[in-house]
Subunit: 768 residues, 2 copies
């Protein structure tokens, strides 16, 4: 493990010293993004060592031809790949004719990289000696603008320290790039036109197959010390690359600076034939504002985000750094402006997994966005699924379902399934439940029912239809069973009667039925529209009811717990603690069959149901199930510790809750799984936020009232967070012996604290 | 379906008329082989239409890098591919300078292709008009010699019919070939040396990775009418090809003939540095004997095979043709001379599936070879597995098993697993049972116990150890369970307590225990050697016993049948008959999850157990289980109908038995599944033989006595077969109202006919 590599700091991610073995993992950790685009922290200058180049544009993807060993009917023909986009950050640096490359320097001193989360920029500062013995001081700063989200800016400074030197900057654009994660080494981009105009250059390129048209652009200006420098400009141009050359004779201890602006415009936001002019407009802004003004804008924009989303922790710098890193990355990935975008599992930090949307969004991310942003953001995430309902119906049809039954894809970019493992793609169907639950959760939290008659009910009908058809009446059991599924615990495949899936199916049908009733009586014109469109009939609803009313739930009388699935008790029930460490993690040490027949649980499964449907079970029942299942849980999914942390807190087991919290909050910073170089675990970061707010803070919504049961780990002095509850912002401060509640926005509000009603208003701090 | 394409004929496979759409499927159907090599029926002359080129050398394979979508621990790194070998059959034909190519001919008349199974040769006869308006008569004949199994011979004759013409033959060798079935388009061959000497040419090439060294060779001579012709010889040579050119001016109605001899020598049989001289020795035989003498040898060798293996059917030409096709192909594929070879699922007729050895060998092929050949052949097949025991132990170790537990691979070439679907590779473990059963079956049939102390017992110990470790004690059931398996019915994956698997596991352990006892008392020195080598202890045997004595078998009291697996009765039990035809075959129409949760059975599963362990169940029990399971069976495996045919016959349902028989015997000839172009279903052909001998003939061995219960389909006049039982050959003739038994080899023998003891001897025909 990597636990002391990143320097503890309240607001920044800091790396000190240059370690070539860490380049790829630091490229992930120091990634930057602005919701519309993002990039790994690749160096601007040439680097000949091992590196993973990645720059990504939100919503621009490539359908890579599926690669499987053994084809199964129903597999999608392609897998939507997150797409490495043309490089606009590159600046070759020549010092007396020698290319500056950290991999060939004879000496690198005082190397420091900083990702400043408070202000939203990435910097490097160091001194390096080139093979020609020239020592230079290098200072770089880069950010992707939140205010102008098609624009990024770089400041690159070189100061020769031991002699005068000719410094040449060669800023370039390059569309001759590849994806690390490609099935068949296809070319993903087709470059149409490379052009330049004064100090600007443009590459127009479109993606193969999906035909997204883009224009990548750049513009640079140079300074010697603070004076603008009209350096000689030479141009090199090939079919996929254009570079300028700015050279200057720099005296010892003088500084040569380049400001490079760049970014992308895409036909998702502009007309195809207006991309070049759109790019020029963006560059006009850059020219007008300049690097420093844009940087001030950036600080301000991040201050606004932090003002609402920040969580402070006193007395534990690493915990503070961890939670801020999670909140920062979530905001870099998705800002909720665009209902055609979603929260990719690796955001803009890597390519693994492909697709952009998993059930992670509904199960883990929506609560974070609901509480820290305007409710429109969560509504956009719901609308994303509403807009893809037709494709979910199409997807279900491919698997033999009829009559508008909808199965949302396991992994998608545009609504079509793109995953291809039968036990996941066809069987991990509980994802449909999370999508319905998110509608419930949105209504519960925001109080905004309008989404349901307008859009949500159609989704609920499609999902309920799926569950009704997917259940099988067992003559042997005289109940409905659901055969052949994979639950949230992906260490079981093709099991029968996964309790979580069956419970979710029942809940979805009941919830759909309830909303049909409510919309029918309260929104009759919506009801008319929807019932005509979906051709719902009372006969069909009877079938739904039959399934919901007589669903089978495997249960153990002996243990008084619901069984994760049929036959769970036939396993060899040895707890994880008794498993020798050489067997861990089992997903790296064991063959798949051994994992499947073991009792070991990858992530919350029955307990995921107890998390979602908490109100339907007593704390005593939770305790029984937690005590039964957690000891078999190996937490080998990044999504596992957060749910367990929340439940441990609820059971007042704060030591355990804190242990789980640490595991989720610094997963990437401390690289627990030795895989951070592939990218960050973006969606599980929202789980970390939940661990504090729902776990330690005990936040819930009960009958339209927001409720808290604050607890605090003994290791902390205090922590605080804010919640936007129905356009009123409450700030919660939790100390070891008390908690205070303050209304930051809004007039007055009744809240529940430890189940007692308390009134808070904008004038007074209520302490409990 | 294709049911009238192949002309009915007792001894030949005949195609009349040239159909370019049938070229690939006929290339499969007319394949020839001699156990050491084989080839698809590709044309000698250039053919520019769609074709699938294939020439294969037994035991020469390539480890193709595994291709999967999602890697699982324990997957093998490569898949052993059957390897298309250098082409030695090619003869370009030029007629007045125009290349003869059936795809460009303006007219093709009287086209007839014949695979003469009685004599073991392939011929084509037709008249074709070339684009230059020259009409030629073509007659070709080709065979792979059984007497000299490194040698093949071709006679190619052209007679210009409408004018004199210059005919040029260009016989060639070509190692610039590829595999149809390649994962990554690797080059599989490296050509080292191309050479020629007089009228002989040689290509020395070795396979990549596996480094099999081969020499492909040829030698030709030409005749005008019957006179040897010293035609001009021109030579073309490239890095991977060598061709000669024989030209002659041929008068109208005269015939120009080329005899081309060729084949392979391989370092599996010769020293690496002696391949060239070995090739010359083979060609010396060809020169000495010439085409016609070799052809006479061929007829004689096939006559010897047919004398023992033939099954005659009177009154049903298509059934006669079908069974002979099956027997012919089995003998072309494997002759039992070499214990390092096995019976590939497509033999030498295609590349699909890869590997050479599946459980098909033990479950379906061994009975055929035992009854129609010397017992050494079956013993060689058993020895093949004995020689791979170490690798089976290695394979089990990779999956977490210890102490010499052995899991034989699902698919293999050299003993290493090469398949990569977790639900098959890791879970279709019943294959281990078939390997143990084959030892029992061999001893039962041949009476040769010596194999067990010498070799078999070690295999049985490895297998018993595997089952003991693979079983799990269920505290809930107080019995041993076997979790997470795929049974013979591959339309169920990762099920618990598949009855067939559990029963087989129990049987294997008991059989191993029994043989340990017997070897201990009767072969003490073998016992000492084996017990020292395997370190077997009485404590370990107690563990085996515990598993065998308290194995769980799912059972339905209501239906009085063993359940195929836990939970089978929860399925929607709609019989196949009620399934609309648009859903069939389900493996092409349904997604995998739908197949898995359906009750439909791909091939005998519980009934496979009733087939193997027939003596342990009553006919009444068989009937109950047959009536319960067969109605859910879709027979979508080529291995399914034969077992059901045998059981239907036993239950005296001859109409049903005959229907199943037809389905198995003409599967390829009538191309039921529209896939014959990929190659033939070689191993299931042995099942066809079983359908007649064990099904209709009712052959069994009961306490060292061979037994028959003859039945005959109403569609037939009579049928006959021979069985080599312990070096005595019995000929069985079955008519509609009687059956006769004749001892062809041996002095006198007691047999059971319908459970009555009858003595047969060499002098008299016993009629019952």
């Amino acid at each position: 493990m990597n636990q002391n590599y990143i320097k503890p700091d309240n607001w920044s991610i800091i790396e000190e010293g240059f370690d070539e073995c860490r380049v790829k993992s630091s490229e992930s950790l120091f990634s930057i993004g602005n919701g519309a685009m993002g990039q790994r922290a690749n160096f601007e200058e040439t680097y000949s060592g091992a590196s993973f180049q990645g720059s990504y544009i939100a919503g621009v993807y490539y359908p890579d031809k599926t690669r499987v060993g053994w084809w199964k009917n129903g597999y999608p023909e392609y897998f939507a790949k997150v797409l490495n986009a043309p490089n606009w950050i590159g600046i070759n640096v020549l010092v007396n004719g020698v290319e500056f490359d950290l991999n060939t320097c004879t000496d690198i001193l005082d190397y420091k990289r900083e990702l400043n989360m408070k202000e939203g920029w990435l910097a490097r500062n160091f001194t390096a000696t080139l093979p020609n013995k020239i020592t230079i001081k290098v200072a770089t700063k880069r950010f992707l603008s939140l205010s102008h989200d098609e624009l990024g800016a770089i400041e690159y400074q070189v100061t020769p320290l031991n002699s005068a030197a000719e410094i040449i900057y060669q800023p370039y654009l390059d569309s001759g790039i590849t994806n690390e994660d490609s099935n068949w080494d296809d070319a993903f981009w087709n470059t149409q036109h490379v052009s330049k105009e004064n100090n600007q250059a443009f590459i127009e390129a479109h993606t193969m197959k999906t035909n997204f048209h883009t224009c990548t652009f750049m513009q640079s200006e140079c300074f010697v010390n603070s004076a603008k420098n009209e350096a000689f400009t030479e141009i090199h141009q090939t079919e996929t690359k254009v570079s300028f050359s700015y050279s200057a004779e720099i005296k010892q201890n003088e500084t040569f600076t380049i400001h490079k602006f760049g970014g992308y415009v895409v036909d998702r936001n502009h007309a195809k034939n207006e991309l070049l002019s759109a790019a020029k407009e963006v560059l006009a802004i850059a020219k007008e504002k300049g690097f420093n003004v844009l940087l001030e804008d950036q600080k301000e924009a991040w201050a606004t985000i932090w003002n609402m989303a920040d969580i402070t922790i006193e007395g534990d710098v690493k915990a503070q750094q961890g939670i801020r890193f999670n909140i920062f990355q979530l905001n870099q990935t998705y800002l909720g402006k665009d209902s055609t975008l979603n929260i990719g599992p690796k955001g803009f930090t890597g390519e693994k997994y492909g697709g952009s949307t998993y059930w992670d969004t509904e199960a883990y991310c929506i609560p974070f966005y609901m509480a820290t942003k305007n409710q429109e953001v969560a509504r956009n995430l719901l609308t994303y699924r509403y807009n893809q309902l037709d494709r979910a119906i199409e997807n279900a049809k491919k698997l033999g379902f009829t009559n508008g039954a909808a199965l949302y894809p396991m992994v998608t970019m545009n609504g079509e399934e793109c995953h291809n493992e039968w036990e996941i793609t066809f069987e991990e169907i509980h994802r449909n439940g999370a999508i319905a639950f998110a509608i419930y959760n949105y209504h519960r939290f925001t109080g905004d029912y309008s989404y349901i008659p307008e859009k949500g009910l159609e989704v609920l009908i499609g999902i309920a239809r799926f569950w009704q058809q997917r259940a099988t009446y067992s003559d042997a059991k005289k109940e409905y069973v659901i055969l052949g599924v994979t639950g949230p615990n992906e260490y079981e495949n093709n099991v029968n009667n996964n309790w979580y899936t069956n419970y979710t199916a029942q809940w979805c049908i009941k919830y759909a039925l309830g909303n049909l009733e409510k919309v029918k009586s309260e929104f009759p014109s919506d009801y008319l529209r929807i019932s005509q469109k979906t051709k719902i009939s009372s006969e069909e609803l009877e079938k739904w009811k039959a399934v919901a009313d007589t669903m089978h739930f495997p249960y153990s009388e002996e243990h008084q717990v619901y069984l994760q699935q049929e036959g769970f008790l036939d396993k060899e029930l040895v707890t994880v603690k008794k498993l020798a460490t050489e067997h861990r993690p089992i997903n790296q040490k064991w063959s798949w069959d051994r994992i499947l027949r073991s009792p070991y649980i990858k992530q919350a499964d029955v307990l995921q149901g107890f998390y979602f449907f908490e109100d339907e079970f007593t704390t005593k029942e939770l305790k029984k199930h937690f005590d039964f299942y957690e000891p078999y849980t190996v937490h080998e999914s990044s999504l596992s510790p957060c749910v367990h942390s929340i439940q441990a807190a609820k059971l007042d087991r704060m030591d355990q809750a804190y242990t789980f919290y640490l595991r989720t909050s610094r997963l990437d910073l401390d690289d627990y799984n030795h895989e951070v170089e592939e990218g960050l675990h973006i969606t599980s970061m929202a789980g970390t936020w939940m661990s504090i707010v729902e776990g330690f803070g005990g936040m819930r919504v009960k009958n339209d009232v927001i409720s808290f049961e604050p607890r605090i780990p003994s290791q902390w002095k205090s922590y605080s967070f804010k919640v936007n509850f129905r356009n009123q912002v409450i700030k919660v401060n939790v100390f070891q012996n008390e908690a205070s509640f303050e209304l930051i926005e809004g007039e007055e509000l009744s809240i529940l604290v430890n189940d007692k009603l308390v009134r808070v208003n904008s004038k007074k701090l209520v302490t409990v």
